[in-house]
């Protein structure tokens, strides 16, 4: 039996303990051990951004981080981002602006955009484009994603309220 490492960290604001193999990635731990599947595997090599999470407030490709290195850190995933006001504004903007097609890239881009607005509340279009440069999307052509992030940013600055009523609820 390979050695296992006991770790303790904060996950989406809640204390968490886990016992992980040394070679386990943070992505695997989140998805397979803890069962938070919003963080996606797109490449496992740090090239697509589908696995983007926040560690101590900085975005990281979870596929490139060892689970053991989460010890003592503050980790936030799409599930945590969702529960914040900024996450909610982003989600609404992504829905309203048609930024979601197959949706596989979306959680990673949401987390990246959340971080972008956190660190640069006045991001212009070029900054947004560069900010999500590491996130691949095969479906949308990015245009609507960029528009959605800009719209969420505008909402934060109190400019144009996103219409809430149009968001569709599934039966």
């Amino acid at each position: 039996m390979p050695a296992r490492i006991d770790i303790a960290f904060r996950l989406n604001g809640v204390g968490k303990r886990a016992s992980v193999a040394p070679e386990t990635s943070a992505l695997e731990m989140l998805r397979e051990v803890i069962g938070l599947t919003g963080t996606k595997y797109g490449c496992g090599e740090g090239e697509c951004g589908a696995c983007t999470i926040l560690v101590d407030g900085v975005t990281i490709n979870a596929c490139l981080m060892f689970a053991a290195d989460c010890d003592g850190r503050d980790v936030m995933t799409i599930e945590g981002v969702n529960a914040t006001p900024r996450g909610e504004a982003l989600r609404r903007a992504f829905v309203e602006h048609g930024a979601v097609q197959c949706g596989f890239c979306t959680p990673g881009i949401m987390v990246q955009a959340w971080h972008l607005l956190e660190s640069n509340p006045h991001a212009d279009q070029a900054t947004i484009q560069r900010g999500i440069e590491g996130n691949l999307c095969r479906c949308t052509g990015y245009k609507k994603i960029i528009e959605a992030v800009a719209a969420a940013e505008a909402v934060e600055r109190g400019q144009t309220p996103v219409e809430q009523s149009r968001e569709v609820q599934r039966g």
Binding site: C102, P107, K143, K144, E167, G171
Partner: protein
């Protein structure tokens, strides 16, 4: 000089009665997806499930001498290790049935499946793969499609043999797999008119050769499947297939069971684009393992595997000759192509179906001949990919059109307008363009892209000494927009029920693959029933529940499933209005449905609340349900053996103008702006259609400029996103799209299919733009800096057509 007259949206959407048509409707599944709640196949785990991994060939072409699985089988946590010997009943799969899921006597490409493991975890399965020993006897490797036609070329598909030299599939087994006498996988020939006569009447003839490269789908969600048998031997498959009903039958054949015992559930898909249109070996292999272990088996690719072992777009070498009169009227066209089929035959081999349509019918060509051969090699094999051959055909035809225009001294717009199709045309291939917005597309894109002025100005700057050049180019396309009757039926079924709270469940055969079909279908139903979108639930992912459909391909879902949904909704409406009429005394024709109520058509006065009315039907002595079914079969025809016939119920058109910047010092081409005009019939969901078109444009940009699956002597050199360059957010062009609404008479609310169209023109328009910028014509894709630089500095080899007859 061509006349410029833009005509957009002749019939805008009617905003009356709160119509949803043409509005910006967010996708119904977007909130779940944006919050990471959607469960893709990768996120599903069944109790007791095992994890499977596949051992692939390390040789491109070799005999399998022996496979030793003993050490792998002995590894703790391993439940099964299988090779072809363990499944002697396996059958060939694929379009030409030339492909056994587990290879018996030989491997023909690097992706070939030799053995598979089911284990307690992915890690154990991977460790077990490392313990399998395979002895190969290398065979001569064939990776050049031209060489594949030589009489003495190595044969890729001789009759299969077991290691003992006897037939690998024992006599008496269900399918005889006999091998192929040569390397020709498929031939398709088409002819109309008399090409020699056309040529005799030509003032000008131009010939070009083009080469198209390998690209692959790169769905962000990698391929995966979960297979499970119940104790009675019924198969449940969680699969991302785009054709669940056809595959149900294929899997049943594979297992020799009644198709009624196969159930396919389709979890949300992380991208399709045509890649899930065929069965690939990993699916039968997961099924074999599930059958042998009696446990659910999950098999998910790594990204590297996705690059190596999922299908590609088909690489093509293409020769094109056409002529025209001195006034610029096309006289004939002759096309010959050679397709690299790779080691096995999937849908890629059948893309000439679509290619020949572009060759024969994008413009009026009286005389035309088309011939394709697809040949086996030891390269990866090609499947279907958004556009289905049309990116390749349009690249050639539209670059060639610019060459003809230049030879004639006519501007590219005028030359195209002279030869463009009109509404009402029936082409010699039998396609009937009941609506056709091509001329409007041409004029609109040209005007909005300021094409003529820029085209002339850029040319004047060829030798002005500035190393950075600007260019503008245009290309148009024709694609099926009302389904494609490639099977005897191109239909789709709908079941619609309205419950006692007036909530609608729309059960459709059509799959959602991220393109937004479920939202559009719900919209169309709401339009008929006067309900808000929130009153509809769409069920579309379980073959035990959903009615039959051909599958998601050929841009058919909005058109075919849309008409089917409308049919079911109209039947429900008739039933409801008849009931209301019997209760209120007004004629049913004088009543309508709006805002959840039965209303008087003339005044809008509310007569009944819909939910109450339906409850009164349930709880009456009639005790009836409002539940309807509808099957829509488009009025298209299955083409005859000469490939003639009106294969689609409607045809989609588009023109795209691309503007580029070419740095002649580096060869870097930047796509600055795309101005598109698309004949979409009618816009149903503006948000959705914009998303489809923008996504398609950027996919076309990748095809033209950045994407290249580098296959060298059968080795795939760049199976990762670092070296296979997808377009990223900072690189996208400015995009300006106009919709030409031709209101197709057969389309749902006038709409046509549009899913594939936007990716088709870009490469051709970019090639034409690079020429307009520099005076240098590129005929091989992609336009990487290296290729462009070499061409600009005279170091490119001209392409030759050296293919034996």
């Amino acid at each position: 000089m061509a006349e410029l007259r833009a005509k957009t949206s002749p019939q805008g959407s009617d905003p009356a009665r709160g119509s949803l048509i043409g509005k910006r409707i967010p996708k119904m599944d977007a909130p779940d997806k944006a919050s990471g709640r959607t469960r893709y196949i990768h996120d599903i785990n069944l109790p007791g499930q095992l994890h499977a991994k596949i051992l692939r060939s390390s040789e491109r072409h070799a005999k399998i001498v022996s496979i030793d699985t003993r050490a792998a089988k002995a590894l703790p946590g391993v439940h099964a290790v299988i090779t072809a010997a363990d499944v002697p009943w396996q059958r060939p799969i694929g379009v030409a049935k030339d492909h056994l899921p587990l290879k018996t006597d030989r491997v023909r490409s690097l992706r070939d499946e030799i053995a598979a493991v089911a284990a307690d975890s992915v890690e154990i399965a991977e460790e077990a793969l490392g313990l399998i020993r395979v002895d190969y006897a290398p065979l001569p490797v064939l990776t050049d499609p031209v060489a594949a036609l030589a009489p003495d070329a190595p044969r890729i598909h001789p009759a299969p043999q077991g290691a003992d030299g006897g037939p690998s599939l024992k006599p008496g087994l269900p399918v005889a797999y006999t091998g192929k006498p040569d390397n020709v996988a498929m031939v398709m020939e088409y002819a109309q008119g008399d090409v020699a006569a056309g040529e005799a009447g030509s003032a000008l003839v131009v010939e070009d050769v083009f080469r198209l490269h390998y690209v692959t789908h790169c769905c962000l969600g990698v391929s995966g499947v979960i297979a499970e048998f119940d104790p009675s031997g019924n198969l449940l498959l969680y699969s991302n297939t785009q054709v669940p009903f056809l595959h149900k039958r294929e899997f049943a054949e594979l297992l020799d069971i009644d198709p009624g015992r196969v159930r396919i559930i389709q979890p949300p898909i992380g991208g399709g684009f045509g890649s899930k249109l065929d069965i690939y070996p990993f699916e039968p292999i997961a099924i074999f393992l599930a059958k042998i272990t009696g446990r659910p088996v999950k098999l998910v690719f790594t990204r590297e595997e996705e690059f190596l072992a999922s299908p590609t777009r088909q690489p093509v070498l293409l020769k094109l000759r056409s002529g025209c009169t001195k006034d610029g009227v096309l006289t004939f066209r002759e096309v010959e192509t050679l397709h690299d089929n790779g080691a096995y035959t999937s849908w890629g081999a059948t893309t000439p179906f679509v290619m020949m349509q572009t060759v024969s019918s994008l413009y009026r060509v009286p005389h035309c001949r088309y011939r394709t051969r697809a040949v086996y090699t030891n390269n990866p094999y090609a499947g279907s990919f958004r556009g289905y051959g049309n990116l390749q055909a349009t690249f050639a035809v539209e670059a060639h059109m610019d060459r003809l225009a230049e030879a004639l001294g006519i501007d590219p717009l005028e030359f195209r307008l002279k030869n463009a199709q009109d509404p009402g045309e029936v082409t010699p291939q039998g396609m009937h363009f009941k609506t056709c917005g091509l001329k409007d597309c041409l004029r609109t894109a040209a005007e909005r892209g300021d094409f003529l002025r820029k085209h002339a100005a850029n040319r004047a700057r060829w030798s002005d000494g500035d190393p950075v050049k600007r260019g503008v180019g245009m290309a148009s396309m024709l694609h099926v927009g009302g389904g494609a009757k490639i099977y005897p039926s191109d239909g789709c079924g709908t079941i619609l029920k309205i419950d006692d709270f007036a909530h609608v469940t729309l059960i459709t055969g059509a799959s959602e693959i991220g393109q937004g079909s479920e939202t559009v279908l719900a919209q169309l139903v709401c339009e008929e029933l006067g309900l808000p979108l929130s009153a509809v639930t769409v069920v579309n992912n379980d073959t035990d529940i959903t009615p039959w459909d051909v599958g998601v391909h050929a841009s058919r879902t909005t058109f075919i499933a849309g008409n089917s949904a409308i049919g079911a909704a109209r039947k429900a409406k008739d039933k409801i209005l008849a009931l209301a009429s019997s209760k209120c005394g007004d004629a049913a024709e004088a009543l309508d449905l709006a805002e959840g109520c039965v209303v008087k058509k003339a005044t809008g006065e509310r007569v009944f609340e819909l939910a109450k009315l339906i409850r009164s039907l349930h709880f009456s002595d009639k005790a009836e349900l409002v539940m309807t079914t509808h099957y829509y079969e488009p009025p298209s025809v299955h083409q005859d053996k000469q490939f003639k016939g009106d294969v689609s119920a409607a045809y989609a058109w588009a023109t795209q103008v691309c503007e580029v910047e070419v740095d002649t010092r580096t060869g870097i081409v930047r796509l600055v702006k795309v101005t598109g005009a698309h004949d979409v019939g009618r816009v149903l969901n503006r948000l959705g259609i914009e998303g489809q078109i923008e996504g398609g444009i950027v996919m076309g940009q990748g095809y033209a400029l950045t994407e290249n699956l580098m296959v060298e002597d059968g080795w795939v050199r760049n199976p990762n996103f670092r070296d296979y360059k997808l377009v990223t957010a900072p690189e996208i062009p400015e995009i300006d799209v106009s919709f030409i609404e031709t209101m197709d008479g057969e389309g749902p609310q006038g709409a046509k299919g549009v899913g594939e169209a936007p990716a088709i023109c870009i490469a051709a328009a970019v090639a034409n733009a690079i020429y307009n910028a520099t005076g240098v014509r590129l005929t091989s894709l992609p336009f990487t800096p290296e290729r462009v630089y070499r061409a600009l500095h005279g170091a490119a080899q001209p392409l030759e057509w050296n293919v034996p007859q």
